[in-house]
């Protein structure tokens, strides 16, 4: 199964992938931290988009599409990118480390934790890429 980004179906599909992908389950087995994404309007995205994932020990405990920012006031990481940059990552046109190192993907949270867990981050992106068949 796969889905169009961005959509609630896509996020549900990603949740399912993260819970069933053995490689991710293994690599992310020590990860503890939820993610709140802000996607800034650009191109086909006309207004800001938010989504939320709660990642815990190699599984995804919860997702929410278009939550209000105050619904999750203290996520472990807040990630922000423009629509074109996030879709470039999802389609493999932009290396996720390039996005982080050039601040095209802005990161707020513990950099210490992030740097310790780069393999988990990269495998999370792999899963997201694998469920993305089409971009809006």
């Amino acid at each position: 199964m796969s889905a169009i980004f961005p959509s609630e179906e896509w996020l549900k599909e990603l949740e399912s992938k993260l819970n069933s992908d053995e490689r991710y389950n293994e690599i992310a087995r020590n990860w503890e931290g939820d993610l709140f994404f802000f996607i800034e309007p650009e191109g086909n995205l006309k207004e800001q988009l938010t989504f939320y994932l709660d990642l815990w020990h190699g599984t995804c405990r919860k997702v929410e599409y278009k939550p209000r920012a105050d619904a999750y006031p203290n996520p472990a990481f807040t990630l922000s990118a423009t629509y074109n940059n996030i879709t470039a990552i999802l389609t493999g046109k932009m290396n996720p480390m390039t996005a982080m190192m050039t601040t095209k993907l802005k990161v707020k949270g513990s950099m210490s934790y992030m740097m310790r867990n780069v393999p988990t981050v990269l495998d999370f992106v792999r899963c997201a890429q694998e469920v993305t068949t089409e971009i809006l």
Partner: protein, 615 residues
């Protein structure tokens, strides 16, 4: 191109033999073409640096240079550079250093300090505004760097004075001795501390109150604010601030780009114990910054046994005394880094040369008879510490280790085992994990250096599209060469203005800052051409001193695949990379010299005539 005559400050030139000082006015053409820092130093010293010159002789120059933005609180511009001829390499030497000393020097009214000669007895210099004193330092000889700093500051009686010093390693001319200022900031590489020691010069204290020249101050202030604001938000800067330069240890290890066990292993499973992240989570109690820097990558730590706070290790020290020697004890790395700082020696060259001793001991080439009974067992912290002390005091085997890995290896008939290029030890970014570093090390003008082009950042993912460098696979080969050349030019600009490599300032912004500071109207292309000119000038200096294409090489260990880790099985195709690199550079494939046409195109006709003959 417009040029508005910045009126750079003069350089103060002092001959320690005669104790005579004079002002050296920088020729106007050189200001425009070479700007400051290492580039201007290279032009000034071009005629001085000959193949016959003994780098530790009284005749050898030692030039402390600032850049046109040093001390102006521009993004990470509180730096200066120390230049001369490397005692271990016999090549062009430059060593970049932060802290507060450079800005203070500029405030005296001088952009540089050029030291020649040799004092008959140990001395230190006290430059207070335009007044220079040569003071006796026999009572300081034998003191470590931090004590010397404190003592000199006390003696000059000026609280705002800044002091750069050598330790016992510099006094004893350890070939990788460094110069230290402020909170453990080091001109670590290329042995400039040994050159300072050879002149019987223990310290230089400076204090000034002059306003620094900026061509267009209102514009510069606006650009500076915006650049610093962006830098605070930059992800890499956040990593440096929160986790320090050793913050990338886990990622480097994951890629198989962090060498272990003297470059023989591509993985170090204990990396979690000796990383910037671990330091942040355990012993970090503060951060330190150089003048005007918004990043603050410096670590302040306190281990359980410490009574006072002290400096924590940065990346090279962490890997050099950690994975390189199979040591997973973080607190011992703090101790070893601190010990090197106190002796005043480069932690990369020290840990690398010690690694070679362990490696040759394992092979049975270095024996207990040679080490004075010391057993060199990988990860043995006591043995490592003893070797550091023996180098600093030049006792026993330390006297041989003090010559660096090339000479140490050669002494035992094992020069090929030494992981160095042209006498400078390789840093801890392995080209088998990040292939661009193969060219960075092989072609750097000062030996195996990771700061003339920190291309590992690009190979980790940091593309630089603002200067035409797109991301390529970290194991790409000859197709990467032109990018590396371009990246070297880019970093040569930084080493001229003297800006820290950790500042992610984009190209347009950097050119605008230079223009506002210096009264130029550079485009990004002009700025990159400037970098190329300076890179070729340093190459010409080295060619004149005997460097050829045969010297652009890598040590044997880096051309054998790692047996394990994220880069197992890969080796860089150095020959292929060099061929396309020379093409991109416009260098002669046979001799390794920049072509006459290239030198002329860059306005370096004097060098063209020197290298190729003619008027």
């Amino acid at each position: 191109m417009k040029y508005f005559d910045l009126k750079m400050q003069p350089i103060l030139k002092i001959d320690l033999t005669t104790r005579k000082a004079e002002e050296y006015r920088i020729p106007k053409q050189w200001e425009r073409d070479f700007l400051g820092g290492a580039s201007l130093a290279a032009r000034i010293l071009y005629d001085e640096l000959t193949s016959e010159l003994d780098p530790l002789s009284p005749e050898a120059p030692l030039l402390f240079m600032t850049g046109p933005m040093t001390g102006t609180s521009g993004p990470t511009t509180g730096r200066f550079v120390v230049c001369g001829k490397g005692p271990a390499t016999g090549l062009w030497a430059e060593s970049n250093i932060g802290g507060f000393w450079g800005p203070e020097l500029r405030s005296t009214g001088y952009d540089g300090l050029w030291v020649t000669g040799r004092a008959s007895e140990p001395v230190y210099l006290w430059l207070n505004g335009s007044r220079l004193e040569v003071r006796p330092a026999a009572h300081l000889w034998g003191m470590n760097t931090y004590h010397t700093q404190e003592k000199v500051k006390e003696e000059v009686g000026e609280k705002s004075a800044r002091v750069c010093v050598i330790g016992q390693a510099g006094e004893r001319q350890v070939l990788f001795a460094s110069i230290l200022c402020d909170h453990g900031r080091m001109a670590g590489r290329t042995g400039m501390g040994a050159v300072m020691g050879s002149k019987n010069l223990k310290a230089i204290a400076v204090h000034g109150e002059r306003e620094l020249p900026i061509f267009n101050l209102p514009r510069y202030k606006a650009l500076r604010s915006e650049a610093n604001r962006k830098l605070k938000e930059d992800n890499e800067a956040k990593v440096m601030r929160e986790v320090g330069t050793a913050g990338a240890a886990n990622y480097a290890e994951y890629l198989g780009a962090m060498p272990a066990k003297y470059y023989s292993r591509g993985s170090f499973p204990a990396v979690d114990e000796v990383s910037g992240a671990k330091m942040s989570e355990t012993i970090l109690v503060g951060r330190s910054a150089c003048q005007g820097c918004v990043i603050a990558c410096g670590r302040v730590v306190k281990t359980p046994k410490d009574v006072a706070k002290r400096k924590g290790p940065e990346h090279e020290t962490m890997v050099g005394f950690g994975a390189n020697l199979l040591n997973d004890n973080l607190e011992s790395i703090v101790d070893l880094g601190d010990l090197c700082d106190r002796y005043g020696m480069d932690t990369i060259s020290a840990s690398n040369t010690i690694g070679l001793a362990f490696h040759l001991y394992e092979k049975g080439i270095v024996t207990k008879e040679v080490t004075g009974g010391l057993e060199l067992k990988w990860g043995d912290v006591d043995a490592i510490e003893q070797l550091v002390r023996m180098i600093g005091s030049r006792e026993g085997i330390g006297d041989l280790l003090a010559l660096g890995s090339k000479r140490f290896g050669a002494h035992f008939g094992a020069e090929e085992d030494a992981v160095q290029v042209n006498g400078l030890e390789v840093a801890y970014h392995d080209p088998r994990g990040v292939s661009g570093m193969a060219l960075s090390y092989a072609t750097s003008p000062r030996g195996a250096c990771h700061n003339q082009s920190d291309y590992f950042f690009v190979d980790w993912g940091h593309s630089r599209e603002d200067i035409g460098i797109k991301f390529m696979d970290r194991h790409a080969q000859a197709e990467k060469s032109a990018n590396v050349a371009r990246h070297q030019d880019w970093r040569t600009v930084d080493n001229a203005i003297v800006m820290c490599l950790f500042a992610n300032v984009d190209a347009e912004e950097k050119a605008a800052l230079i223009n506002a500071a210096c009264g130029l109207d550079w485009t990004v292309a002009d700025m990159m051409k400037f970098g190329e000119r300076s890179w070729n000038l340093k190459r010409a200096i080295n060619n004149r001193m005997g460097l050829t294409a045969q010297d652009d090489k890598l040590p044997k260990a880096l051309l054998a695949p790692f047996p394990d880790g994220g880069s197992a099985g890969f080796v860089p195709d150095l020959e292929g990379m060099l061929f396309t690199y020379y093409e991109a550079r416009g260098w002669d494939q046979e001799t390794g010299k920049p072509s006459r046409e290239k030198l002329s195109e860059l306005g370096l006709d004097f060098a063209a005539n020197d290298l190729w003959g003619g008027a």
